[in-house]
């Protein structure tokens, strides 16, 4: 299972360098880039914050977009809560690594039971945290020498990783149909709604298909 965690953490870590460089070229300091990776620690929200500010947007719209993109982590927490069974201090520490990657690896291990899911969650969450922060610093320091991620195929490797993680979960008709509707809804909403909305709107699809027992 570590293979999954590392296969996810390494390319995502590489994106950390892209983030560090993007932050610095948007006018953020190296320290601010590192603070974002340490404390915001949610890739999509981080790119949104530096993107909006770099494009001359207002602080309010940077915060709003970043926060909207972070809403899905709350939904991941709902899914992980019964698996992790965390309370007290652990709740406040462990929730920080509740992101796309850790949840994705956890659900990819669903057929192996809760222990495997928990291990996948922590191995990936901690792995991504270490790589993401280390590479953010490198990227921020070497902002000018970071190439275009497309030349390394990094921009396809990351969605491919998530595809690989949901793949074993598409083993029921209900899951496959939900996934297809989620894809269609999200793509339909991309040109219409601001970033963040198209993805979290698909929670509606989960509600519709999960409402009655199939």
């Amino acid at each position: 299972m570590l293979r999954y965690s590392l296969s996810v953490a390494i390319p995502v870590g590489g994106y950390g360098a892209v983030f560090g460089a993007a932050a610095v070229s948007s006018g953020f300091s190296v320290l601010q880039a590192c603070v974002l990776s340490l404390f915001l620690f949610s890739g999509a929200s981080q790119f949104a914050v530096v993107g909006v500010m770099g494009a001359g947007g207002s602080v309010i719209s940077a915060i709003a977009t970043g926060a909207l993109l972070g809403v899905r982590n709350a939904f991941y927490g709902l899914r992980m809560a019964p698996i992790l069974q965390i309370s007290g201090v652990r709740k406040f520490l462990d929730s920080h690594i509740t992101i796309d990657e850790s949840t994705g690896v956890a659900i990819s291990q669903e057929n192996l039971g809760k222990d495997a899911m928990r291990f996948g969650f922590y191995a990936t969450g901690i792995g991504v945290f270490v790589f993401w922060n280390f590479f953010t610093l490198l990227g921020a320091l070497g902002a000018n020498s970071i190439g275009n991620p497309a030349t390394f195929g990094l921009d396809a490797a990351v969605p491919a990783a998530f595809l690989g993680l949901i793949w074993p979960r598409l083993n029921t008709r209900q899951a496959r149909i939900s996934a297809i509707f989620a894809v269609l809804l999200a793509l339909l909403l991309v040109p219409i709604l601001p970033p963040g909305f198209p993805i979290i709107a698909t929670v509606l699809v989960a509600m519709i298909f999960g409402w009655n027992k199939k």
């Binding site: 293979r3 953020f28 601010q32 603070v35 974002l36 404390f39 914050v49 500010m53 940077a62 915060i63 970043g66 926060a67 972070g70 809403v71 899905r72 982590n73 939904f75 991941y76 927490g77 709902l78 899914r79 992980m80 809560a81 709740k91 462990d94 929730s95 994705g104 659900i107 497309a150 030349t151 390394f152 195929g153 396809a156 490797a157 969605p159 491919a160 998530f162 595809l163 690989g164 993680l165 949901i166 793949w167 939900s178 996934a179 297809i180 989620a182 894809v183 809804l185 999200a186 793509l187 991309v190 040109p191 601001p194 970033p195 198209p198 993805i199 929670v203 989960a206 999960g210 409402w211």
Partner: protein
């Protein structure tokens, strides 16, 4: 506090609270069968949507480019039961090749 620090710190705080919020739902709510069914589907729909948005969009527009070739190659690799790292490598290589053409 300048605007960059404000954006950095306030977004970090909100996103952290959102993460904690997910773990703050009472157990009896989460144990409800309907909530359990919906909850199991949620990461599947969110991550499916994420894959499609990361593959087919750029700056709030639908864009078909090298990324789709890479992700399609990954789907093919998964279909033929390739290992996870091999699948990722396939996606990266195909996407990079198409990008350079």
């Amino acid at each position: 506090m300048n605007s960059l620090w404000a954006a950095t710190l306030i977004t970090s705080a909100i996103c952290y609270l959102l993460k904690v919020l997910g773990y703050s739902m009472p157990e009896r709510v989460l144990n409800h069968p309907r909530i359990q069914r919906i909850n199991t589907l949620i990461p599947v729909v969110l991550l499916s949507a994420l894959v499609s948005v990361q593959t087919l969009s750029a700056k709030e527009e639908i864009v078909v480019d090298h990324r789709l070739a890479g992700v399609a190659a990954a789907a093919l690799a998964l279909r033929f039961k390739a290992s996870f790292p091999l699948m990722m490598l396939t996606a990266a290589i195909v996407s990079a090749l198409v990008y350079r053409i």
